[in-house]
């Protein structure tokens, strides 16, 4: 599974990345987490508000920092 965290490096984006790492550890799945900071690349996902979460090239969440539970649910559903 490839998890991308889209954002310009702001504090909320770092929070989302930390949450994604935690969720991956909790579920014990094999996943690669990539930070995407390049604006044109972020826009290519149709995202206007960061941070955003993309799993296997599918946008799952944009514009807010979710709870850990929510990230876990999203990852489980995408497995």
């Amino acid at each position: 599974m490839v998890i991308k965290v889209l954002g310009s490096g702001c504090s909320n984006c770092q929070k989302l990345e930390a949450l994604a790492e935690k969720a991956v550890a909790q579920l014990g799945i094999d996943a690669e987490i990539i930070e995407v900071k390049d604006i044109p690349e972020i826009m290519a996902y149709g995202v206007m508000s960061t941070p955003a979460l993309v799993i296997d090239e599918q946008l799952k969440l944009a514009g807010r920092v979710p709870s850990l539970d929510e990230v876990v649910h999203i990852l489980e559903a995408a497995k």
Binding site: M43, G46, M48, S49, V65, S67, E70, I74, A77
Partner: protein
């Protein structure tokens, strides 16, 4: 009945009975003010931010963009300013938001109406104004903010400054986001609780400090002390207040409790409104972030039109409310 009346009883009891301070002493007045205002403002913040977070979950920027694309001058500006109030937006998303708007055909002037309204009419400022000044001043503030956002967007639109946007913005092609999974109600509530924790956790030291300074002034500085310096008769008070407000960006939480005391001591209401708008609406960090998509000339126009609008509102209300 004032819902905060029990809180007033509690702070009176603590100050005058438990601490044994005299209700006519300066220290007594200051302590009572502090003990009443700190919990009142924090409770207001927590309650309103919770509901704001829920309301905002219905207005993601992707939806706002759809409403505004190919909108026209005037009607588009009004819609953009109103949507600016409810669309969640942090200055760190300013760049993708701006590109997203421009790419989907939202006119430049309409985009600016959104960019001006969004930080200026912010929930923390509105709550604090309501709690400390009442609904009339809050309404004045919102209407003035909308007016500035709409007119500055119209002016920028009329000037036809599209070439002052960085060229690469027009080359970016946005992908289709598709349908995002819907947030369930429990998720919305969990998110709203987290948001309250985040915002209140961030602003409470400013609120306490602002009210603390305000409390000292409330007790120790004579009323009408500021009339001479910041009253309606000083023509320079408004621009000076705006200049002081710019570097205080985003500290609305600390500034507004302080401002309520400045009013009590004789600062003119128009000057106060201009000051608060400058604090939340003229943000240097946002200008720096927007530099990625706007040429310096356009940033200067954006800031200039905004500042002139704020100063004009200040003079207008000093004149009308006098």
């Amino acid at each position: 009945m004032d819902p905060f009346y029990p809180l007033q009883l509690l702070s009176d009891w603590l100050t005058y009975t438990v601490f044994g301070l005299s209700p006519t002493s300066k220290l007594g007045l200051s302590v009572d003010f502090f003990l009443f205002d700190v919990p009142k403002v924090l409770i207001l913040l927590a309650v309103v931010i919770f509901f704001v977070a829920i309301i905002r979950s219905f207005f993601p920027p992707e939806k706002t963009r759809k409403y505004l694309s190919h909108s026209r001058l005037y009607a588009g500006n009004i819609a953009a300013a109103l949507l600016g109030i409810v669309t969640p937006f942090c200055s760190c998303s300013a760049v993708p938001l701006f590109i997203g708007f421009v790419e989907s055909g939202v006119p430049l002037g309409v985009t600016f109406s959104f960019l001006v309204a969004s930080p200026m009419i912010n929930e923390v400022a509105i709550i604090l104004l309501f709690g400390l000044f009442g609904w009339k001043i809050t309404a004045l503030y919102i209407v003035s903010g909308l007016f500035i956002a709409i007119t500055s967007g119209i002016i920028i639109g009329k000037l036809g400054l599209e070439s002052w946007v960085e060229e690469y913005v027009y080359q970016i092609r946005m992908g289709e986001a598709g349908e995002l999974p819907q947030q369930t109600w429990p998720e919305k509530f969990a998110y709203a609780r987290g948001y309250v924790k985040e915002i209140v956790g961030k602003v409470w030291p400013y609120v306490v400090a602002g009210i603390g300074i305000g409390a000292v002034m409330h007790g120790y500085i004579p009323n009408d002390f500021l009339v001479k310096y910041a009253g309606p008769s000083n023509p320079f008070a408004v621009p000076i207040a705006v200049l002081i407000g710019v570097p205080l960006y985003s500290n609305a939480a600390g500034v507004i409790p302080l401002v309520s005391v400045l009013v009590e001591k004789g600062m003119a209401m128009g000057t106060v409104l201009a000051f608060m708008m400058a604090v939340v609406g003229l943000s240097l960090p946002e200008a720096i972030i927007l530099r990625k998509v706007l040429k310096p000339k356009l940033i200067a126009v954006y800031f200039g039109v905004n500042a002139v609008g704020i100063i004009a509102i200040g003079y207008l209300f000093n004149w009308v409310l006098h």
